[in-house]
Symmetry: C2
Subunit: 227 residues, 2 copies
Amino acid sequence: MTDFPRRRIPEAAVARLPMYLRILTELSAEGTQQVSSDQLAQLAGVNAAKVRKDLSYLGSYGTRGVGYDIEYLTYQIQRELGLNQSWPVVIVGAGNLGQALANYGGLGGRGFNVAGVVDVDPSKVGSVIGGVRIRHIDDLANIAQSKSVSIGVIATPATHAQEAADHLVRAGIGSILNFAPVVISVPRHVRVRKVDLALELQILSYYEQMRSKGLRAVPDVADGQTA
Amino acid sequence: MTDFPRRRIPEAAVARLPMYLRILTELSAEGTQQVSSDQLAQLAGVNAAKVRKDLSYLGSYGTRGVGYDIEYLTYQIQRELGLNQSWPVVIVGAGNLGQALANYGGLGGRGFNVAGVVDVDPSKVGSVIGGVRIRHIDDLANIAQSKSVSIGVIATPATHAQEAADHLVRAGIGSILNFAPVVISVPRHVRVRKVDLALELQILSYYEQMRSKGLRAVPDVADGQTA
DNA sequence: TGATGTGAACCCATTCACAGCC
DNA sequence: GGCTGTGAATGGGTTCACATCA
């Protein structure tokens, strides 16, 4: 209804908002100004009713008979996700992956900035990647404190991931994005999301295997985007 | 009940099997031989009943009053996921990310091998990364055909991701893992999974924002692993 | 008229709770 | 006694279908 006392949005819906946001940004870049739930659904590869329901959690920002104003909706989603501020993140691990992440330009424009990169290896400390100087992991707490970092990224080998997680937790980080191929343990108040190449491939493997057995794993609903 | 006519396993359960598999591998490396659903649940950060239900989709491979034999269960999960064969994958895009992926050693031991890396940029063709020579994207169909590749990984910039997807689809690839920060369109029979740094961070951002507003986003059930 | 917003129905996933078996 | 395997209960998420409104 009104504006501020934001009700809680279902987890599944929250996970889709960034996708809508990205699509809206692309549409906006092409000069489009209005979009309907149908179009948005098409582009996102989901059901139109789902799009409307998801967006309705933000409030009633559409216009019946017309659709959604892209700029306004973009603003509302960003606000809801907390992207009207820039979130400093700290990356633990300055190996291949850590460097790729620090160099990844897509963060600045999307509400994030790399406040620091740390590593255990003293020989790496001092080098500059992605415009940030690598510092020693013992400085993590300082960096987190002084730059108000609340999100950490683990980009270490599996063997050091738990250690990295412990450092992050001790430094007061509340959310962790874990790229290491291992499950980390953290206190219950810390939120963890995991991104794992091998794991994703193994899931795909299952369905490829089904396919090769001719079992048509599933009618491929919802997930499939049309060309 | 018996063995071969594998019933279809719920998508959510399939997505967790690789996680169990990894944990089992770690336990096995430590010399453990038996594990209970309780222990496994603890390590995976999920509910024990969920573990049992997930594993029961594979068949009845536990022993009441005892638990699961790690080696045997490992074998069964691998077989179910199709990991008793090695799946060749092709990587499209030989930039930072593509190189990191090709160099990532974790694939070989997990049922995958990099059958090829392709790029549009002729100046990159010929270099060797991760033991594989980079070839031109026009060779994609040949590689896919001759090496029976059915899984493709998109590691291009967003601007070229759709093009990469089109190439993969034309080459007959059935499953795509998309690392590019953009939603790709594919025919319905192609299965896509998406891995996206910025998107994951934006989801975390929402919950950090809630936290900072003191709204305790959610009791942090299920997802949180205990220390 | 055309598209949103939303109760209600449906469906899938999670969790409970206990019978069954080692 | 202890732990698995699983029906039954619950809960969340998705989809339907339509009242509502520009």
